[in-house]
């Protein structure tokens, strides 16, 4: 086989391949053997027709095309391996000459992974922010923990509710207001006081002073956006009747439209849209207190017992260190993002369109999968957010460009600096995948190697390692180095686990590779699509 390549603009390579007539003859024989099993020739059982009969029946061209369909990609793959090309998309074949008795010739135009110019990354100087934890933050943290450990005590029947206490109530929508709300159900743990209930305005305030079993009527005020009479909204003036069981926001209607609806209602006095005119409508409700509760905050003793600390000083110390570690983690993330931005600004690369398209498709699939997990239909999401497919795809395309550019820059830096992921790091990822999939580690490794995913894992680990190195150096150069604890969180047990976790996360979303149909590592080893590799 004769192979030659020519580099083209746009990170494309044109491969020219030539193979002997003997190869063509063999390819035709193979094509005949495949085709004869599929084609019904009159007078012959399937698979029994001799080649000349089949050729006469389907035509010589059809046989050649069948042979070509298999032979050309096979030769292309051999040529790709011979030239050691890092291909990132499907080849475009052209000028194919496939005739019996003649050499097979064709050209293939393929997009290859471009090499980025990382720019002057060695002069990056980005200070790592100072991390401090104030006394107030520690107290706030302890207060939140204490509140999470609080429990509710049932109040005596004759004790009225005070502000900040809770009640289980039954609320019913009544006639008589400007709008009426179809509502007749219980609500668990409504807080009495000034904090408005999200659905029923006025309920929280009404509860203050009520006792168990007591019933009161009150008026809720909804702020709604006034709409034009011809505009179709959930306009529901009072007086009519609809089916039972609707939540607030679905009001009864009768008579002429008023141009206001509870669909757009808010319980506050603020306008719904700055430009739209708003008005207030009233609805009548009846509330019955079914049970009243007071919140019991644990005493210092109870609190320390619950959290398993010997003293409040110890608790404060632990809380401070916890808040600090969280802040450091956030700061590290923000720092690496800044480094990424700087690298993107300094670096340059010409990305083939196919890479962007593939990555955009992957991101879109992830996005749709996330929506499905949340139980939201894509059309509902578009309606609620007011976005269009075009804007979403365009945003994802920008993200794809950013991701790819960063990856290519990191690859180039890794090559310059001789950075490579260690075997222990790769093994940490594989073992994580195996653990999550509940499979044997060696089997998982063999499967991943067979499917060619291991290269992706190594590449991702190398990128993480490179970014980490640059981020650390940039902070050091700026005179504000990264504290050791920020880079290695306490949970990290072995050297590679931090990076391994990141890579595993990226593999879940299928970002490790952009070649061909992307599968997550979990799917590669037999999990259900979308199940991911992390529990």
């Amino acid at each position: 086989m004769n192979v030659s390549k020519q580099e083209m603009p746009g990170s494309l390579v044109e491969i020219a391949v030539e193979e002997t007539p003997e190869f063509v003859s063999e390819a035709l024989d193979k094509a005949y053997r495949r085709l004869v099993k599929r084609v019904d020739v009159p007078g012959w059982r399937r698979g029994k027709a001799p080649r000349h009969i089949l050729e006469r029946h389907v035509g010589k061209r059809a046989l050649c095309e069948e042979a070509e369909r298999y032979a050309v990609p096979e030769l292309y793959e051999r040529a790709r391996q011979e030239l050691c090309l890092d291909v990132v998309g499907e080849p475009e074949f052209k000028d194919i000459t496939f005739e019996p008795g003649e050499p097979l010739r064709f050209k293939a135009l393929v997009p290859v992974r471009p090499k980025a110019q990382p720019g002057d990354y060695k002069s990056l100087a980005i200070p790592f922010p100072e991390i401090s934890v104030s006394r107030d933050e520690v107290e706030e943290g302890i207060k939140r923990t204490r509140e999470s450990l609080a429990h509710l005590d049932i109040l005596p029947a004759d004790r009225p509710l005070k502000e900040g206490e809770y009640a289980r109530v039954h609320v019913k929508g009544l006639e008589g207001g400007e709008v009426s709300v179809e509502l007749d159900r219980d609500f668990e743990l409504v807080k009495a006081g000034s904090e408005e209930h999200p659905l029923i305005p006025g309920l929280a305030a009404t509860l203050v002073g009520m006792k168990k079993g007591e019933s009161r009527e009150f008026t809720g005020k909804y702020v709604v956006r006034a709409t034009k009479p011809e505009e179709k909204t959930g306009v529901q003036p009072a007086g009519g009747g609809t089916g039972p069981g609707k939540e607030p926001g679905a009001a009864k209607s009768e008579g002429k439209p008023q141009g206001a609806g509870l669909e757009n209602a808010e319980c506050s006095g603020e306008a719904v849209t700055p430009e739209g005119e708003t008005r207030t409508v009233e609805a009548r409700f009846q509330v019955v207190v079914l049970e009243a509760y007071s919140k019991h905050m644990p005493t210092d003793e109870e609190f320390l017992r619950e959290v398993g600390k010997p003293s409040m000083e110890e608790m404060e110390k632990d809380m401070e260190s916890f808040i600090k570690s969280q802040k450091l983690e956030r700061a590290w993330r923000a720092h690496t993002e800044k480094v990424e931005d700087a690298l993107l600004e300094k670096g340059s690369v010409e990305i083939p369109d196919v890479m962007i398209e593939n990555r955009t498709r992957t991101l879109l699939d992830d996005f749709l999968r996330d929506l499905e997990k949340m139980g939201v239909k894509p059309e509902d999401y578009l309606r609620r957010t007011g976005l269009t497919w075009e804007t979403i795809v365009s945003d994802l395309k920008e993200r794809a460009k950013r991701q790819i550019k960063l990856e290519l820059i990191l690859d180039a830096i890794a090559e310059n600096e001789g950075i490579q992921a260690g075997e222990d790091q790769v093994n940490a990822v594989v073992s994580g995948i195996a653990k999550d999939a509940g499979r044997d580690e060696d089997t998982v490794k063999a499967t991943l190697e067979m499917r060619g995913v291991m290269d992706g894992i190594k590449r991702e680990l190398t990128r993480s390692k490179t970014l980490r190195k640059i981020a650390l150096e940039a902070a050091e150069r700026a005179g504000k180095p990264v504290p050791e604890v920020a880079v290695k969180p306490e949970a990290v047990e072995d050297k590679g686990a931090g990076e391994a976790g990141e890579v595993q996360g990226r593999l879940e979303t299928g970002h490790a590779e952009e070649q061909g149909p992307l599968q997550t590592a979990g799917e590669q080893i037999g999990q259900e699509p979308g199940q991911g590799v992390k529990s």
Binding site: P42, G43, W44, R45, K48, A49, P50, H52, I53
Partner: protein
Amino acid sequence: MNLTLHDIIIKPLVTEKTSADMEKGTYTFEVHPLATKAQIKEAVETIFKVSVDEVRTSNLPGKPRRMGYFPGRTPRRKKAVVKLGPGQRIKGFEGV
């Protein structure tokens, strides 16, 4: 009926079965439905320059077919299985 040689032999029949027979010197043709064994023998001998030992014929009646409302039939056919003299072959038939 006055038939020319080429009216008599319509086409060779090449199927899995007849191909196997060809190796034994027996060739199958579709022939004119009114052709006699003698006419077939003469036609094969003259056209293919071989000697014929035996001719077996069979008539294949047309099959009923329908074009919408209108009933019809496919044309009737006649098949002739011609056995050549020992060692004789019709050249070019292998690739037919």
